[in-house]
């Protein structure tokens, strides 16, 4: 496993990588262990030097830091800044790191005191508004999804190591869904953000007949106005669309615009 590798005659270096988590379910790190068939191959491409969930040994000498989760407390900001100082490349892993993820659903009340009281009563507890990594540090690369798709991560990491360009699709999930010849969920009366969400997951949820909830954020080529027209034509209640748009934080801009337009409360 430790022999020198080459690709097209060029030496391939084995980067030292660390995995870190802030406020999250740690599911994205688990996804890395969840591709059992290729796990050992994947691990042979890198040298894992810091992975608290999986190993006791720790080192701060890493080239690439994969950071899962969002920021919800001051000490997390400090940990993230330290990771940024240590790493050459910081990768935001999953929706929580990229957009705040489900954790940002608490922001919609604009009332942290109420949020704290609802869960902890009068017991003192420390929290702040949920933020993505990019609110605190420069992020070099974002890997989207809740959860991340292991195959996509493997491709991205392989490309990183080989020095190849990494391009996220600009088109929406609808393209992938059509290519898989799925029944359109709108035809089954189900809301689906497939027409506006960034592709790359190979229409994971719609292929299992669950409408897309937009965990990968907006596709650069998305046509939001036309999407809302479709929803209207298909009689999908606005509430169900908003539930999906606001779930992971990627569509924050659209949500704010729609709230202003509808004059609706969160």
């Amino acid at each position: 496993m430790d022999e020198k590798r080459t690709f097209l005659g060029v030496d391939v270096v084995k980067p030292r990588v660390g995995f870190f988590e802030l406020s999250s379910c740690e599911g994205c790190q688990l996804q890395l262990l969840n591709n059992e068939a290729t796990l050992l191959d994947f691990l042979s491409m890198v040298e894992v030097v810091n992975f608290r969930e999986g190993m006791t040994e720790k080192s701060d000498a890493y080239d690439i830091a994969f950071v899962e989760g969002s920021i919800t407390r001051k000490d997390e900001e400090e940990r993230l800044l330290a990771i940024r100082r240590n790493a050459t490349l910081v990768v935001a892993l999953g929706s929580c790191a990229c957009f705040g993820g489900v954790n940002q659903l608490k922001n919609r009340f604009n009332d942290l005191e109420w949020v704290k009281k609802e869960v902890y009563g009068d017991h003192p507890i420390d929290t702040q508004e949920t933020k993505p990594l990019s609110a605190i540090i420069d992020v070099d690369l974002e890997i989207y999804g809740c959860p991340i798709k292991k195959e996509e991560v493997e491709t991205i990491v392989t490309n990183l190591i080989l020095g190849k360009a990494i391009n996220h699709p600009k088109y929406p999930i609808c393209m992938e869904c059509k290519a898989r010849e799925n029944i359109c969920l709108f035809d089954l009366g189900e809301p689906c953000l497939g027409p506006v969400t960034r592709a790359g997951c190979d229409a994971w949820c719609p292929s299992n007949r669950l409408g897309c909830w937009g965990c990968r954020g907006p596709a650069p080529a998305a046509n939001m106005a036309q999407f809302l027209e479709i929803c209207k034509a298909k009689d999908i209640p606005m509430e169900r669309i908003m539930d999906r748009l606001e779930c992971f934080g990627g569509f924050q801009q659209s949500v704010e615009q729609l709230r202003t337009k509808e004059g609706s409360k969160p």
């Binding site: 496993m1 988590e21 802030l22 406020s23 999250s24 379910c25 740690e26 599911g27 994205c28 790190q29 688990l30 996804q31 262990l33 969840n34 059992e36 068939a37 796990l39 050992l40 691990l43 894992v48 992975f51 608290r52 969930e53 999986g54 190993m55 006791t56 040994e57 720790k58 919800t72 407390r73 997390e76 993820g101 489900v102 954790n103 659903l105 608490k106 009340f109 109420w114 949020v115 704290k116 609802e118 869960v119 902890y120 017991h123 507890i125 929290t127 809740c146 959860p147 994971w204 949820c205 299992n208 007949r209 669950l210 909830w213 509430e239 169900r240 539930d243 779930c247 969160p266």
Partner: protein
Amino acid sequence: MKKLTCNVDIKHLTRVEGHGNIKITIQDGKVAEARWEVVETPRFFEAMLVGKHYENAPYICGRICGICSIGHTLASIRTVENCFGMEPSTQTAKLRLLLKHMETLQSHILHVYFLAAPDFLGVGSVLPLTQSHPDVVQRALRLKLLANDICDEVGGRRLHPTRTVVGGFTMLPDKYRMQQFKSRLKTCLPDLTDSAELFKSFAFPDFTRETEFVSLKGVNDYPFIGGDLISTDGVNKKEHEYRTMSNEYMDEYSTSKLSKLSRQSLAVGALARFNNNHVHLEKMAKDVATMLGLTPVNHNPFMNNVAQLVECVHVVLDAIRLIDEILSTEYQAERQPVTPRAGVGVGAVEVPRGILYHCLEFDGDGRIIKGDCVIPTSQNHANIFHDIEELAVFCVEHGKTDRETELLAEMLVRAYDPCISCSVH
């Protein structure tokens, strides 16, 4: 004997899910301080749910945890269905149980092989084992892959499932592939026997502290989804009375809530289920327990690792039975219609780390007014706390060194397979 002085200060314990600290200070042979601290950031899931329509509940609640997302999703679905007065079809109930079993298998295998076993084999992680014990690692990966493949087929995805919805499933598994899974399940039984042999070579610390074990109560089978609640101290409650079973409270060392019942702490998880329901285990699972010296009621927290392996055997055998039954009947409708109504629903599900309760209150349109989730690891925290205190005394009595005390304390917490971010949620 020389008076023992020892200082253990572990910040962010490794090889567990989430963030917790262990502090043990022993001065001149006396335990000055022994503590388990939970420092995880809260995410406020109960608040997030307020105002949301019922269909959001399983989707959002599943994201409380990356390891037991299937268990959270199923608990949330049961909560909604109980509130709306819905009874899942036999087909739905079987598929949900099969999915639950495969989550139990993948989670237990991940824990016993990747998180716990390195301690018993004297290494810091599973990585060196890929060189020194390649057969052991391959076996663990094979078992985990099988469990996850079945989760993909039944639940749509191994993590944060897609097909599981209120009323049933969005899609049903392919019967041809189910047939193949049945064969793979049968051929994995020798892997479980080999796992038992490996466990036999492990030296489990001889440490006990009597406690109260809480779980679902089995009637005709080893229970996983819904039913009455029971404790080894003789408490019996109905599912909707979960609050009198979990009695949550807060303390300064933990961002997670804690639980107690008849004593200062209680324990949930594989060992609790085994202690309460061992009579309902499959024979082969009982045999593995006997072979590894696990007999009810066992009060050694380290034996939770063994109880997990025993459960792996049980769920594989039960999964084979379930697939047989699913294959021998024509598929019915995958999903039943949902009619919301106002009220309160409670769902209790045995997830890998112990009994999980979800409770949701709805208005007449099916919107959530209030939510409550009581997590297995939060119920275990007080027990871990008191175990650590007792373990410190144990280490003094046995003249353990700093490093030995530290390792035993780490192994003790790991034995619970804590899911700390889940416990704080």
